[in-house]
């Protein structure tokens, strides 16, 4: 479909840890999936905003009621504040690409939102509801499908999208993936953070650190297999600054997701028609923030040796692979399709 001045196509990857947007005007942004409201009048005066989103919210967290509203990629239930936070997150993403909320010249926003397969199944209406007033038409697709579409890996391919909250698997067999073609695991980036935090506490009992610090360390130095360098971080301990060697803790924590990921990958492979299994084995694509773990593709290839070997590649741009795929879908859908999906 041709873009016009009256329409703007966007692809959104709504993630537990980070959310990304790619727009047909060429804008691409990624933000931390945090939303925070000043806790009192003093905080509001200091931050000078009624609500903070992304990195800004994280950095000012001491003054904010901070929310990370997407638990395992699904809008948290039981908290109206978290629903509101999702809307703020989406509103902020749209504003980043230069779309104003109101105004005569505001183009019609056609959004494709990629979410974990599980969210797609259980909270489709909540997600559509969250988009009201933000986009004019919305299409929800499973995150790995968006990645596959963007990469044109539509036949005999497996996408493994490992984010913070979930690891989503999808086998592409030239058809729109059904539930049988997809799996969602909750052992993903957040699980690594929890494990890493636990191991550091056990081995460096005097060190003081927060989950946010652990997350940053992981994002900088995560690896599986052999380390390229020692992982040494700085954290306060007994009121002083201490250097902690967390190389082994990092390795064990990152490798903790390998067994379920490998098991699911091989299980899904075994369900592919026998004549195509080799093709799929040689076309496994890893996306998502956790695909940046050093040595991950090699570890997955090692696991593939038993069923006959295979090739695993990591997408070039893991943070935007989902949103770029969403944008491709949004552009290819016809005006008639979008009219059917209007909010």
């Amino acid at each position: 479909m041709e873009d016009t001045n009256e329409t703007m196509c966007v692809g959104i990857d709504l993630g537990t840890s980070r959310s990304a947007i790619s727009a047909s005007n060429g804008e691409r942004h990624v933000i931390d999936s945090y939303v925070g409201w000043p806790v009192d009048m003093v905080a509001r005066k200091l931050v000078k905003k009624p609500v903070l989103v992304g990195r800004e919210a994280l950095e000012n967290r001491a003054m904010l009621d901070l929310r990370r509203p997407l638990e395992r990629g699904i809008i948290k239930e039981g908290s109206e504040k978290d629903e509101e936070a999702v809307q703020e997150l989406l509103r902020h993403l749209i504003s980043l690409i230069g779309i104003k909320q109101k105004g005569k010249n505001r183009p019609k926003v056609r959004a494709v939102v990629g979410v974990p397969a599980e969210a797609f199944r259980v909270s489709r209406q909540r997600l559509r509801g969250a988009m009201e007033g933000i986009a004019d038409s919305v299409m929800l697709v499973s995150e790995p499908f968006a990645v596959a579409y963007g990469l044109e890996a539509l036949l005999h391919a497996m996408i493994i999208d490992i984010g913070a909250g979930t690891a989503d698997f999808c086998v592409m067999q030239g058809r729109y993936p059904t539930e049988d073609d997809q799996r969602t695991l909750t052992t993903a980036g957040d699980f690594i953070d929890e494990q890493l935090s636990k191991f550091i506490k056990e081995n460096h009992s005097e060190a003081q650190f927060s989950i946010h610090m652990v997350r940053e360390w992981k994002e900088k130095w995560s690896f599986v297999g052999q380390p390229k360098n020692r992982v040494v971080v700085i954290a306060p301990a007994k009121g002083k600054t201490a250097e902690l060697d967390i190389t082994e803790e990092m390795r064990i924590a990152c490798e903790s997701i390998l067994p379920p990921v490998c098991e699911t990958m091989i299980d899904l492979l075994s369900r592919v028609a026998p004549e195509y299994q080799e093709k799929v084995r040689n076309n496994i694509i890893v996306a998502g923030g956790s695909s940046l773990i050093s040595g991950l593709s090699e570890a997955l290839e090692k696991a593939l040796q038993e069923p006959g070997g295979g090739r695993v590649t990591v997408v070039r741009d893991p943070l935007f692979a989902g949103s770029d795929g969403g944008l491709a879908i949004a552009r290819d859908a016809s005006t008639a399709d979008w009219e059917k999906l209007s909010l």
Binding site: G78, S79, L140, L154, T184, T264, D267, K340
Partner: protein, 336 residues
């Protein structure tokens, strides 16, 4: 082989169609859902009949047919139900439930089952101080009954003292009492032990390993394997009772978190989740299971040792029930 553009076009068409189907069958509005409570009971009965049929010997999901291991979990998701089972035959879908006109049958919450978790030989979690889950849950349940008093609801309890009551008996008791709601009170044990979390469950499958572990612990004496539950739940996923249970879980959870974080500022809100707990699967009415605190956390044990804190928990659950009940619009006092 067709080219990529053709494949993309086809996939796009399927994606749009999939979304349109989602738009056409939206999640029922809260009020509309509640109108269907009587219908929901009928479906609940059908659900139980289905469960009974499935769990009967020789019907594919009998006890011990699959080990409750991680492998079994994956297998149970993917394996289709036996096609020779007339109830699970996919080509013969059940008719769509139709909302009931409330003018015909007034609906209200009258009778509530309060289920104090564990008891007797089943101590549940035990804190370092010796405080046990069975003691805490019973105390909160008794407080809740007292708070309700002679108010809007009639309360019946699965146990009123320290005795062993199997999960199956609890389910049977709730169903035979024709209760309108089932509220099960439990206390969590979480690692690492610095966690202090609040979470509330309603019936449904889960892929969360922590919830699977919790469910397997809480279902310890049920007699069914987790793989059995999971397979059954795949088939009852669209049960209308689920929506009502979720509403009840959300109401109670919201009140619990609001009340408790005032004194327990580090309390983590883990939200409302689905899990295959035996008491949630078998009961015919909207049912929830609240893990109101953590006996693994030293600070929470201290709080739980204080009667005022347990009173707050009971009060919050009561408020949650009222919140859910008030959304019915019709508020019928006990005995009217």
């Amino acid at each position: 082989m067709e080219n990529v553009e053709k494949t993309k076009l086809r996939l796009l068409r399927e994606a749009v169609q999939n979304n349109i189907e989602g738009v056409r069958s939206p999640r029922p509005k809260a009020r509309a859902r509640r109108k269907g409570v009587l219908t929901l009971w009928l479906w609940g009965g059908l659900l139980v009949a289905t469960l009974g049929y499935l769990l009967a010997p020789g019907h594919g999901v009998s006890k011990g047919s699959a080990p409750a291991t991680a492998d079994a979990k994956v297998e149970s998701v993917a394996s289709p139900a036996p096609l020779d089972d007339p109830i699970l035959e996919p080509e013969a879908p059940l008719p769509t439930p139709r909302p009931l006109n409330r003018a015909v049958v007034p609906l209200a919450i009258r009778r509530i089952v309060i289920d104090a978790g564990h008891g007797g030989h089943h101590t549940g979690a035990i804190a370092d101080s010796g405080l046990s889950e069975k003691e805490v849950t019973l105390d909160i349940a008794l407080r809740l009954r007292r708070l309700i008093g002679n108010g809007a609801f009639e309360v019946i309890m699965t146990r009123q003292d320290d005795r062993t009551v199997s999960l199956a008996k609890r389910v049977e008791f709730a169903n035979s009492s024709r209760a309108d709601l089932f509220v099960s009170i439990h206390v969590n044990w979480l690692e690492p032990r610095n966690i202090r979390a609040l979470e509330t469950f309603y019936v449904g499958p889960t892929d969360d390993p922590a919830v699977m572990k919790l469910a397997s612990l809480e279902n310890h004496d049920s007699g069914y394997s987790l793989a059995d539950y999971r397979r059954i739940l795949e088939k009852v996923y669209i049960d209308e009772r689920r929506d009502e249970s979720r509403e009840l879980a959300r109401s109670i959870h919201t009140e619990l978190y609001r009340e408790l974080r005032q004194v327990n500022t580090k309390l983590e809100n883990r939200g409302v989740k689905t899990a295959p707990f035996a008491v949630l699967i078998g009961t015919q009415m909207p049912a929830i299971l609240a893990e109101v605190s953590c006996l693994s956390n030293h600070d929470e044990v201290e709080l739980l040792s204080d009667g005022n804190y347990r009173e707050k928990i009971a009060l919050a659950i009561l408020r949650g029930i009222h919140r859910y009940s008030n959304n019915f619009n019709i508020y019928v006092k006990k005995g009217t």
